[in-house]
């Protein structure tokens, strides 16, 4: 009896000695995790969030159930406010996109700042293609810019809202080349594309997933890629820099954030989790299918990215004539 008791005590002491080290590295989620997307089912952030969840499930990386929650409204502010309101809760994550960085700059009513949240990771970057119809007389980007210079304001670009990436790239190009062409906002990608295909506008800066099929079918021609390095799907198309038009990088990125004030172990855990996910074969296939570029950054680097990129955005928006409130 006494010996067993001694052994038990001894074992407990030995384990107890080892415990503190494990406890520090050992944070794991204990409840289902909520992943917040700022738009409804089928939208960009929603589909991305669901892809994350499904990849984690397929690779058996998730210890608990993860569920996507759509917190729609306020142009994205509802989701961001929700994350801020969940201060200290390590079982809530949000899928951030570049919108989360531009929104606080232009919307006075927004009260949540992404720079106040806990950055977890950046996961992917969405490149873009500058496309025209195949019937267009412009064969290179230089042709297009020359045409724009010859007739200021005559060329038309279809795109989304003025704070979205396609307009920001347009602004930077116009400023750096001293030219001007107009921007026509359409709320949906389908309308933008059909405006271009129908010849009602002259160019568009579109994501490869939107325009890729049209290019493959020979309806659209890519003049340049808005990306650092050439995409594997478009080996013959110059990047903006290679085409002779170096501009500041307007990054359309996605990643994960957590509410402010969560324990450092939780951050480390999530960082590791999504790093493993990014390296998995399932995720690589997802990136390839959707023509994203993997762009994993650690939590610390992501936080730095937020601040630096928001500053860049502020400058670009101000130059574009958009009213900046912060």
């Amino acid at each position: 009896m006494k010996r067993r008791h001694l052994i038990a005590t001894g074992a407990t002491l030995a384990l107890g000695g080892a415990m503190p080290a494990r406890a520090q590295a050992g944070w794991v989620p204990t409840r289902p995790i909520e992943i917040v997307a700022h738009n409804g089912p089928g939208s960009g952030p929603d589909v991305f969030a669901r892809a994350l969840v499904s990849t984690l499930e397929q690779e058996r990386l998730n210890p608990v159930r993860m569920q996507v929650a759509n917190r729609v409204g306020g142009g994205g502010a509802t989701a961001m406010n929700y994350i801020m309101d969940k201060r200290g809760d390590p079982h809530v994550l949000g899928v951030w996109t570049s919108l989360w960085l531009s929104l606080p700059l232009v919307q006075a009513e927004a009260r949540a700042l992404t720079t106040d949240m806990t950055a977890i990771t950046r996961i992917a970057i969405e490149p873009a293609l500058l496309v025209v119809r195949t019937e267009s007389p412009h064969r290179t980007l230089a042709d297009l810019i020359a045409a724009a210079r010859a007739r200021p304001g005559a060329l038309r670009q279809s795109g989304g809202s003025p704070t979205a990436r396609d307009n920001l790239v347009r602004q930077l190009l116009m400023v750096s080349t001293g030219t001007r062409w107009s921007f026509i906002s359409f709320p949906g990608g389908g309308e933008r594309l059909s405006a271009l295909l129908g010849g009602h506008v002259d160019l568009m800066i579109a994501e490869p997933s939107e325009a890729g099929e049209q290019v493959r079918a020979g309806r659209l021609r890519v003049l340049a890629q808005v990306t650092e390095a050439r995409l594997p799907g478009f080996p013959d198309v110059p990047t903006l820099r290679e085409a002779g038009f170096p501009i500041t990088d307007v990054v359309q990125a996605r990643g994960l954030v957590a509410p402010p004030g969560i324990p450092a172990e939780a951050v480390a855990y999530y960082q590791g989790l999504f790093q493993r996910m990014s390296q998995s074969a399932t995720w690589q296939k997802y990136l390839e299918d959707n023509q994203f570029q993997g762009a994993w950054l650690s939590a610390a680097d992501t936080a730095t990215f937020f601040v630096a990129y928001q500053d860049t955005l502020r400058g670009i928006l101000q130059e574009a004539g958009v009213r900046v409130v912060r």
């Binding site: 409804g40 304001g153 003025p162 704070t163 099929e213 049209q214």
Partner: protein, 504 residues
């Protein structure tokens, strides 16, 4: 012919037992989703997507399309029985559909809705089969000036929908135009009429206004009038629960009207199905021999919009399947589903994945038939819902409205707005203002403003672009015709009566 060959192969695929099963599952789910508020087809498809990862793409798209079409069938049920629009395109069905129910013709209304949906849905699919590529090419010629003309066509219907006082109808319309501009301006990111509220930045959702002004206000009005019956009239015999021959005969033009208008509007990316149903309803009323009866419960007032919103689904598949361009909303999710399965929707899809394309098209025929068979026998059953005593029915209507409103975005503000619009609808009815123009203004206002601003930017400020292009000119002429037809027709009738010298 190539089309027949493709279609033949398609039927071979669609008639496989497994695909028939997926078709049935989709249709069934879609009908339920359409009937119940709180779940739209888009959200349902998005939720089911992960379960379909390993599926064969043909089976998968068959099922999802079943949901898409089924929801349109189901959406009319609550519109007719309870005056709660099931989804945006069912709003117009409330106008005459619910009145038919109050007149004791609920079964007939439900039956006509199902039949119109079937006829127009089939028309849409036939058009998709036979004319998809040329229609898609034609649709590309539509851009902002043509959309503007389409909206003008829609707005000209306010005259037709106005009722007694044109002035009040116009005021109603203008309020609708104002309500739709609440939110963020797309072109400049300027907030308009948001009163500093972060909630209003995204604008007010259409369903909140529609459910408030129709369902909630309707209950309040019934309570005020203190109807003596404790329940609405429901006929006893089966024959009376189905549409009569006379009612079906009255709908002949409406079936054609709904089919064509719905399909054409559906083909245009970005034009919602609510627009299609409004235009079909307006055209029906303006060519009717008894326009003043619209709004009191005429069967063609149900057939035209219901047909239009089903043909619209077929039309929306044209740009999706031939060009890979989603019309918006549900078709956008269908697109991501196709991408998920490795099918590449785009101009090459018909060539590279013919079995998916033709298998889908063939199964749409089957699905449409399945939906008719599913829905028609349920008509007498659903009509019994009206036997529920009002003191239970009214709470249920309130409850369903609250669920529907909350599902827009999980925010109690939606419920507050719902209550607000319920009061607005009640007050409007008491002050004798028609509510349909308010809804019409809301649906069209946003789109029309965008179309004008886009057009003027395209033409660098030259307003001639709005009228000079052939397609928009045609539609503007049609709008003028709609405005002029009712007074012209009544003048003609007065003239012929006078000539015949008939004693009045």
């Amino acid at each position: 012919m190539e089309v027949l060959g493709g279609l033949g192969n398609g039927f071979a695929v669609a008639l496989q037992p497994i695909n028939l099963m997926w078709c049935f599952v989709g249709c069934f789910l879609g009908t339920i989703v359409g009937i119940l508020p709180g779940l739209g087809p888009a959200a349902t498809i998005a939720l089911l997507l992960p379960l379909t990862y390993g599926m064969d793409p043909t089976g998968g798209i068959i099922m999802l399309s079943g949901i898409y079409f089924g929801a349109k069938y189901g959406g009319s049920t609550t519109s007719i029985l309870l005056n709660i629009p099931g989804e945006a395109s069912s709003v117009v069905t409330c106008l005459d559909g619910h009145q038919m129910a109050r007149n004791g013709r609920a079964g007939a209304a439900l039956g006509i809705a199902a039949i119109a949906s079937f006829i127009a849905g089939t028309f849409g699919i036939v058009a998709l089969t036979v004319m998809a590529p040329p229609i898609a090419a034609f649709a590309l010629r539509f851009s902002s000036p043509e959309y503007f003309a389409l909206m003008v066509l829609g707005l000209s219907l306010v005259v037709v929908l106005g009722g007694n006082s044109l002035m009040k109808a116009l005021l109603s319309l203008l309020v609708g135009l104002w309500l739709t501009s609440i939110g963020t301006d797309l072109f400049t990111s300027q907030s308009r009429f948001t009163f500093g509220s972060s909630f209003l930045i995204s604008g007010i959702d259409f369903m909140i206004i529609a459910i408030g002004v129709f369902a909630i206000a309707g209950v309040l009005e019934s309570i005020k009038a203190r109807e003596e019956n404790t329940a609405l009239p429901v006929p006893g015999t089966l024959r009376e629960l189905l549409p009569s021959r006379a009612e079906l005969k009255a709908c002949r033009f409406a079936f054609a009207n709904g089919s064509i208008v719905g399909f054409l509007v559906g083909v245009l990316p970005g034009a919602g199905s609510a627009i299609a149903s409004f235009i079909a309803y307006g055209i029906e009323k303006s060519v009717s021999k008894h326009p003043e009866k619209f709004g009191t419960g005429v069967p063609e007032g149900v057939a035209a919009p219901e047909g239009a919103n089903n043909a619209d689904s077929g039309g929306a598949l044209v740009p999706l399947l031939t060009l890979g361009i989603p019309g918006g909303g549900t078709t956008a999710i269908l697109l991501s589903a196709l991408v998920l399965w490795g099918v590449k929707p785009g101009p090459l899809m018909m060539i590279e994945s013919p079995q998916v394309f033709w298998g889908l098209v063939a199964s749409l025929y089957i699905g449409n038939l399945m939906l008719l068979v599913l829905n028609l026998p349920l008509v007498p059953l659903f009509a019994q819902i009206l036997r529920i005593p009002l003191y239970v029915l009214f709470p249920i209507i309130f409850g369903l409205s609250l669920v529907g409103a909350y599902s827009v975005s999980d925010n109690v503000m939606n419920l507050v707005l719902l209550a607000g619009f319920g009061l607005v609808g009640y007050v409007m009815a008491k002050l004798d203002f028609p509510t349909a123009p308010l809804i019409l203004g809301f649906v069209l206002g946003d789109a029309m403003e965008r179309a004008v601003r886009q057009s003027l930017t395209m033409s660098q400020g030259d307003p001639a672009i709005l009228v000079e292009r052939p397609i928009s000119a045609v539609m503007l002429t049609l709008a003028a015709l709609i405005l002029l037809t009712p007074p012209a027709m009544s003048a003609w009738r007065r003239h012929t009566k006078h000539q015949k010298g008939s004693p009045s």
